[in-house]
Every structure is written in structure tokens, then in C-alpha cells.
């Protein structure tokens, strides 16, 4: 199979600046939704949580580094406070009037929505119905295609 990519075909070290950590989540969820989920967990918890605890509460299917990145970003945006507890930080939502926190969260999520919108993704998320439709539309085709090269 002839190489079709220009530039280096080998994998690039794209883990700098937490860039790839964002995309390391196993599931196709927008970054903004992950942040919302993390914020929600912390608000429900009622006490400061470490990244490991947050990760567990989210079902354990996110990479630890992803959770750490999200928590640091939320902290940098002023939505979380943190305290060192041993070797890890424990994060808590900023003790704020509920309205103010909600507004900040809305703004954060809106910014994420804009960042997502500016990327031109090859394919967007599929609903279950879309998935069914696609499989039906292509029927045999997908199964018959042998991987070339």
C-alpha cells in the first residue's frame, strides 16, 4: 500500500500540552460534555475529590490523564479550587453563589461548543437510528470489502 500521507508517516508525539489527552477519551464525547460531567460529579460529591475518585465516579472508562487534564483546565478557568493532599490535588467547585457558578459554567461550555464547531470533523456522532440506517444502506458492501494493502 503506497503511503498516502505527506510529512512523517510515523506517529507523531502529540501528547504535548494535554492536546492529545483531550482526545484520549474512549468515547466520542465533546470536551465540553466531559467538563460538564466532571463539574456535576464534584458538585454532587459535597467534598473535595482527587482525580482518581472523580474518574471512578464517572465509570472508570476515562483515562486518568484525561481526568487530570480536565480538572486542571477547570481550575485554570476559575471553576474549581484545589488543595494538595499528599501527592495529589483534591478539587472542589469554587464556593460561589449558585447563579454565578452556573453562568460561568454556561460560558465555559459555550466556548467549548465554539471550539468544536471550528474543527471540521470528518464524521459527526451517530444516533442509534443513524447507525442502523448506515448498516442497512451499505448492507453487503461493508462486509465484502477486503482491506487492501
Amino acid at each position: 500500500m503506497a503511503p498516502m500521507l505527506d510529512g512523517p508517516d510515523q506517529a507523531a508525539q502529540a501528547a504535548q500540552g494535554g492536546f492529545d489527552a483531550e482526545r484520549a477519551a474512549h468515547h466520542r464525547r465533546a470536551a465540553g460534555q466531559l467538563e460538564a460531567a466532571v463539574l456535576a460529579e464534584l458538585q454532587q460529591a459535597g467534598s473535595a475529590l482527587s482525580p482518581g475518585e472523580v474518574r471512578e465516579r464517572l465509570g472508570g472508562d476515562l483515562a486518568y490523564t484525561t481526568v487530570v487534564t480536565i480538572l486542571s483546565r477547570l481550575h485554570a478557568k476559575g471553576l474549581l479550587s484545589r488543595q494538595k493532599a499528599g501527592r495529589v490535588y483534591r478539587y472542589a467547585p469554587v464556593a460561589d453563589q449558585p447563579g454565578l457558578a452556573a453562568r460561568r459554567m454556561a460560558r465555559v461550555l459555550d466556548e467549548e461548543a465554539d471550539r468544536e464547531a471550528v474543527l471540521a470533523r470528518f464524521v459527526s456522532s451517530l444516533s442509534d437510528r443513524d447507525e442502523e440506517l448506515l448498516r442497512k444502506m451499505l448492507g453487503q458492501d461493508l462486509g465484502d470489502q477486503e482491506r487492501e494493502g
Binding site: M1, M4, L5, D6, G7, P8, D9, Q10, A11, A12, Q13, A14, A15, Q16, G17, F19, D20, R23, A24, A25, H26, H27, R28, R29, A30, Q33, A36, A37, A40, L58, G59, D61, D110, E111, D114, R115, A117, V118, L119, A120, R121, F122, V123, S124, S125, L126, S127, R129, D130, E131, L133, L134, M137, L138, D141, L142, Q145, E146, R147, E148
Partner: protein, 308 residues
């Protein structure tokens, strides 16, 4: 003036209904240009119409003629706009201005952030492959634009399907498609009736890139398969216990991906000069009506100045 000022307020509603059927019958590149330009023109015209409505009531206030050295009799001789309508128009205009300001600031920040990421991605080529199991591929606007493809996406596609993917993303990069979607979103911020038009612009640029990929690879069926396989790859591992994602495409009919695949399995839409001209005429009429209403008001004020 009465009727002219309301035309620009009604046409966006028409545009919202007509956007999808119109775009489906035009070549995607034409649709993208047409819908974006129309959205911007309609947003400007409707905002101008709101301004005229609000202003025409303001000038009737007795205080204004004294302060502005204008003839109050002349000002109050023009067509009367009812107070509630004028207040509503003024309120909507203020909301629109605020919404556009916010949206512009956020969008500019997002584009700037994307440029920064594009600059700092490793490697010198346009395409960057990341070590990531999930299937994902997207284009970052930048100078130069960069295409990010995950290892997972490469492995999900077979042979020439990868060519399709590359051609598609490169088309986005070459065409600066993010400008179309951003402009349309700003227009929709000014006039929420235009949101369906902005959504169709988003879809049209995807179809545009699909058609470029099909032209470059010379195989529409291959392109259809590539889109479908890539989409199924991204859904391969459904999230367990994840927060509910917004319902994309669940509402009515098929989502954008099946529609794109379906469009690839048939020949592309041909040019339709009739549809194109009809749309341009309607948008021009809307802009013209706003201009007429504005000129009317301007003339009234000038007359009031002269007669003082």
C-alpha cells in the same frame, strides 16, 4: 413604508423553511456560498428593519424635536408605528446586538485557539497522525491549516478509503470552510430564525468536501463507503454510563452522516440557475425593502430639519 419594513422580518422565516430543500437541489459548493451570503444579507436586512421600526417611534417623542431642532409636526406626520411594536423592535435589536457581540468574541477566540494548536502540532507536514485508539479526524484552521487523524481512524479505514478521508479534510483546509460556518452562525446570532440556514451551511460544507474527495478519487461508491465506515468506527464503542449526548439527528429523519452517504450513492446535483436566481432575487428584495424603509425614514428626518 408600512409594508416594506416588514418584508425583511418575514423572509428569514421563509429562508429557514427553504434552506434544506434548496441546498439539496444545488451543488454543495454553490449551496454553501449561496446560503452563507443569504444568511448574512438577511440578518443585516432584518436588523436594519428593526432599527427603522424602533427609530420611527422614537422620533415621534416630543422631546426629540426640541433637542434635534426638527419640526415636530413633520416628524409626527409620517406613518405611525404602534408603541408596543416599536418597543419590541428596539428590544429585539438590542438582544441581537448583544448576541452577535458575544458570538463574535467567542468565535474569534475559538479560531485563534485553533490557529495556535495548528502551529504547535508536531511535524512539518499538513497531516499529523496521533497515537489514539479512538477513530477521529478533523481539520484545524490555521496558517497553514493542519489535518489531524488518529491511528484509530486510519486503522478503521481500508486502502483507498484513507485517500477519501485525506482528500475530504484537505478540501476543508483549502477552502477555509470554517469561515462559511462561522459567518452563518453569526448571522443566526443576529436573527435566530436563520439558525436552520446556519445548520444547512454546516452540512453543505461537509458535502462540498465529500464531492471534492469523490472527484479526486474518481469513485463515489468508495467515498460513500469511507464516510459510512468512518462513522461506524466512531460509534464502535458506545459509552457506558456516560452523560447523555445531545440528540443529533434523532429528531426528524436521518442525521447528516446517512444523508451524506445517500448523496454519494447518486450522481451529484446539477446546477440550477432557476433556483439560484430565485433565491438571489428574494434575498435582494429583502435587502431592498430594508433600504427603502430606511430611506423613507431618512427623508422624513431631512424634511423635518428643513422645515424647522
Amino acid at each position: 413604508m408600512e409594508l416594506a419594513v416588514y418584508v425583511p422580518l418575514l423572509v428569514p422565516a421563509l429562508a429557514a423553511l427553504a434552506a434544506r430543500p434548496l441546498a439539496a437541489r444545488l451543488p454543495p459548493a454553490v449551496a454553501a456560498w449561496l446560503l452563507t451570503a443569504s444568511a448574512l444579507a438577511l440578518a443585516l436586512a432584518s436588523s436594519a428593519a428593526l432599527g427603522v421600526l424602533a427609530l420611527s417611534a422614537v422620533i415621534r417623542i416630543r422631546f426629540i424635536d426640541a433637542v434635534g431642532h426638527l419640526s415636530g409636526d413633520v416628524l409626527r406626520s409620517g406613518d405611525a408605528v404602534s408603541i408596543p411594536v416599536a418597543v419590541l423592535a428596539g428590544g429585539l435589536l438590542a438582544l441581537a446586538a448583544g448576541a452577535v457581540g458575544l458570538a463574535l468574541r467567542r468565535r474569534v477566540a475559538a479560531i485563534a485557539a485553533a490557529h495556535r494548536r495548528a502551529r504547535t502540532l508536531p511535524g512539518t507536514g499538513q497531516v499529523v497522525v496521533t497515537e489514539d485508539d479512538t477513530a477521529d479526524a478533523y481539520t484545524l484552521p490555521g496558517r497553514p491549516a493542519r489535518v489531524v487523524i488518529t491511528r484509530g481512524m486510519l486503522e478503521a479505514l481500508a486502502g483507498r478509503e484513507r485517500d477519501v478521508l485525506l482528500a475530504h479534510e484537505r478540501a476543508h483546509a483549502r477552502g477555509s470552510h470554517y469561515l462559511f460556518t462561522s459567518a452563518a452562525r453569526l448571522a443566526a446570532a443576529a436573527n435566530p430564525l436563520l439558525r436552520p440556514v446556519a445548520a444547512e451551511v454546516g452540512y453543505a460544507v461537509e458535502r462540498w468536501a465529500d464531492e471534492r474527495a469523490a472527484a479526486e478519487t474518481g469513485d463515489r461508491a468508495l467515498t460513500a463507503r469511507a464516510i459510512a465506515r468512518a462513522a461506524l468506527a466512531t460509534s464502535a464503542r458506545p459509552p457506558a454510563g456516560a452523560p447523555l449526548a445531545p440528540a443529533l439527528g434523532i429528531a426528524r429523519g436521518a442525521g447528516p452522516v446517512p444523508r451524506r452517504v445517500a448523496a454519494m450513492l447518486v450522481p451529484p446535483p446539477g446546477r440550477s440557475p432557476l433556483l439560484l436566481s430565485a433565491t438571489v432575487l428574494l434575498v435582494a428584495a429583502s435587502a431592498w425593502a430594508a433600504l427603502l424603509a430606511g430611506l423613507d425614514l431618512h427623508q422624513l428626518i431631512e424634511l423635518a430639519q428643513a422645515q424647522r
